[in-house]
């Protein structure tokens, strides 16, 4: 087994030897950011468990594998639009596809988007819309704090870019489907940027769809800036096969009176690490950060979150729930910072876990750093088994044990699903979670939203 130094050295070699390809097609701003990020990566490396923030997730086995890396867009030999159709009638979305982290070159034109809305690849955005792109790219993701974010920024070439201009309300959600399709094991680097301008409203659904059984490591970073009075939802559905590694870092910055809701639902994936960072950078923001994980077998999930109340009068609600079965393992870290002048802050956090087996483990750790005095904060974490009294109550009415357990698990998870602000998506997820808890979604090649292909 390779040690961490070998892994880091391999990336340094990749960066140096592939430099020409890395620079090619990327804008100057991207390449400048890349250069600095690589310096950070050289210092930080891939985080190991010695790093307090990665104490519960061992990334060495995830990285210790001969992945292929595409530093150039690879033409797809089939029409992905043909292969992949999300024809769930109730869930009407503006859908775009990504292939192995790259914006698909043959995406259908989104004809129903309001005027001024841009949905395209990051490379294209850097070139065509530099004034928007340069104002935000690399501004929120912290390459000096996390080695995998530094690595992503060093290798970043493409991903999706979404721009919602001032005052524009997009009714239909935008759905981004990450297709993983390769004939070899693959490491995909994906770099996304979402810019929501003043008074704008948008909902984005990001889901995964693995089309082949190869081992994948996805290292993605998404930066989001939500301007004044804007309302933004981000739903992430993680559903990859058990042989995959998902590293997903999201950085959200909010301006005054903005309202953001994110919901990260982890259904399947071998190893999942979500870094979710929010900064409430102006007053009167509302942030809702929700998440749910349903893990069994040897799966591992680690939700690492931080909510930074940098300015006064903001509200944050954070709630993660998990159901852990078999030998699954997981961690939740919830950091809340309330900076010195962030008076009148309200910050609430909870993490509840249901352990279905004796071998499942979860480490949950709230961490509140409060430097202001006029604040309302609460946090709570629970780890428990199925409520036997409730189970008996249901059975005493004639409901068989399996169904009764199912009802209770579903009820537990539903509290998070309920927070979804897109009605048809909520119904979809309800169905999906019900199926997932019944063990009916166990094969890898299913799209999270149960699209046909």
């Amino acid at each position: 087994m390779a040690d961490i130094n070998t892994i880091n050295k391999d990336f340094a070699d990749l960066f140096n030897q592939g430099n020409e390809l890395l620079l090619e097609g990327s804008s100057d701003v991207m390449n400048e950011t890349r250069k600095n990020a690589f310096q950070d990566f050289s210092k930080l490396g891939v985080p190991t468990r010695a790093n307090e923030n990665y104490k519960y997730t061992n990334l060495i086995p995830a990285f210790d594998h001969p992945y292929n890396v595409n530093l150039k867009y690879q033409n797809v030999d089939v029409d992905l639009n043909e292969i992949f159709q999300c024809d769930v009638p109730e869930l009407d979305t503006n859908m775009v596809l990504l292939t192995n982290g790259w914006y698909y070159g043959n995406n259908k034109e989104l004809t129903e988007l309001p005027k001024g809305v841009i949905v395209c690849g990051v490379q294209e955005a850097a070139e065509k819309y530099p004034e928007i792109f340069n104002a935000h790219y690399g501004k929120y993701a912290k390459t000096d704090e996390d080695g995998i974010v530094a690595l992503n920024t060093s290798l970043a070439k493409d991903g999706f870019f979404i721009y919602v201009p001032k005052g524009v309300v997009i009714e239909k959600p935008i759905q981004v489907v990450n297709l993983l399709r390769s004939d070899r094991d693959l490491m995909a680097t994906q770099r996304n940027l979402i810019v929501v301008e003043e008074n704008a409203q948008a909902k984005i659904i990001v889901c995964d769809h693995t089309l082949t059984h190869h081992k994948y490591l996805t290292n993605s970073v998404t930066e989001v800036n939500v301007a004044r009075n804007a309302i933004f939802d981000l739903y992430t559905l993680q559903n990859q096969h058990l042989n995959s590694v998902i590293l997903n870092s999201t950085y959200i910055r909010q301006e005054s009176n903005s309202n953001v809701l994110s919901n990260t639902i982890s259904l399947y994936g071998g190893t999942i690490r979500n870094n979710h960072h929010v900064i409430l950078d102006e007053e009167h923001c509302e942030n809702n950060t929700f998440g749910m994980y349903l893990m069994d077998r040897d799966q591992h999930v680690d939700n690492f979150t931080s909510i930074d109340h940098a300015k006064p009068n903001c509200l944050s609600n954070e709630h993660f729930k998990g159901v852990m079965d078999d030998q699954a393992s997981g961690a939740f870290a919830g950091r809340i910072f309330v900076r010195r002048d962030a008076q009148q802050t309200q910050a609430y956090q909870s993490n509840n876990n249901l352990l279905l087996s004796n071998d499942a483990v979860i480490n949950t750790k709230p961490q509140l750093v409060i430097d202001a005095d006029d604040v309302k904060c609460s946090h709570g974490a629970t780890v428990g088994q199925m409520d036997e009294d409730a189970l008996f109550y249901l059975r005493a009415r004639g409901i068989d044990e399996k169904e009764a357990r199912q009802m209770l698990m579903f009820a537990f998870a539903h509290e998070i699903i309920e927070k979804i602000r897109v009605e048809p998506l909520k119904e979809r997820i309800d169905e999906l979670v019900d199926k997932r808890l019944r063990g009916e979604i166990s094969k890898c090649n299913t799209c999270a939203i149960a699209c046909n292909h």
Partner: protein, 250 residues
């Protein structure tokens, strides 16, 4: 219909029921009274199949079948209904979904097709009016945030939905105001037929003014120490349990 013979039950090594004998015939109403901690709820729970308790001796035959051999859900489908002394709150499980699942499980057991959505709603409506339970309650999660009295009413509502052969009502009257008591008792009486039976566990004679028992038992220290007609309830109301305790050497 129900025949309990020499039932011994313990929990965590402690003997709680020490040889219960009880026979209930179709159409009968039995009242079980007795001081706190006597074992009344234990008996009720054992009949419903709670596995917390160990049956160390004895047998329970229900309609010719060995009840102790069955899972709780099968006992329910055979027609046993336990009205809980402390109904459980189950956030996130809607009352409608809960009842629909339960009713259809019962139907499946009888070889019937599940009810259509509209037939089910009709049934709900009918039974709701029987126990005068508000839709505001049945639209919520099971018992979530219900008052003590509302929870008890909800038990009778569920009983009405499931139409059991033998209902064991564990202190269904406690926590009910006078009006609710009447409503609940009326509900129980309306559900009564010649073929079903009821065991009411209670501390108070007043319930028995409405649900008139054929037989009253006193359960004390894990045994049925006295069995008589309904006048026994009046006597207990008047004299308390001391004379029972004395008669039984404590």
């Amino acid at each position: 219909m129900l025949s309990i013979k020499n039932l011994h039950v313990s929990i965590e090594g402690k003997d709680i029921l020490k040889g219960i004998n009880l026979d209930v015939k179709p159409g009968e109403v039995h009242a079980i009274m007795g001081p706190n901690g006597a074992g009344k709820s234990t008996l009720a729970s054992v009949l419903a199949g709670r596995d917390l308790y160990n049956v160390t001796e004895g047998e329970v035959i229900f309609q010719g079948k060995d009840l102790l051999d069955m899972e709780p859900e099968d006992r329910a489908k055979e027609g046993i209904f336990l009205g809980f002394q402390y109904p459980i709150e189950i956030p996130g499980v809607s009352t409608v979904n809960f009842m629909k699942t339960a009713v259809n499980e019962h139907r499946k057991y009888k070889g019937l097709d599940p009810l259509s959505a509209s037939d089910f709603l009709k049934l709900m409506r009918e039974k709701k009016s029987l126990v005068e339970i508000d839709s505001k309650l049945t639209n919520r999660s099971v018992n979530e945030g219900f008052s003590g009295g509302e929870k008890k009413k909800n038990e009778i509502f569920q009983m009405a939905m499931l139409e059991p052969k033998l209902a064991v009502l564990d202190e269904t009257d406690s926590g009910l105001d006078i009006d609710a008591l009447r409503v609940v008792a009326n509900g129980v009486n309306k559900l009564k037929t010649r073929d079903n039976a009821t065991i009411v566990i209670t501390h108070y004679q007043r319930l028995l003014d409405y649900i008139v028992p054929d037989v009253v038992h006193v359960l004390y220290n894990g045994r049925i120490v006295k069995t008589a007609g309904k006048e026994l309830a009046l006597e207990l109301e008047e004299k308390g349990y001391d004379w029972i305790k004395e008669e039984n050497g404590k």
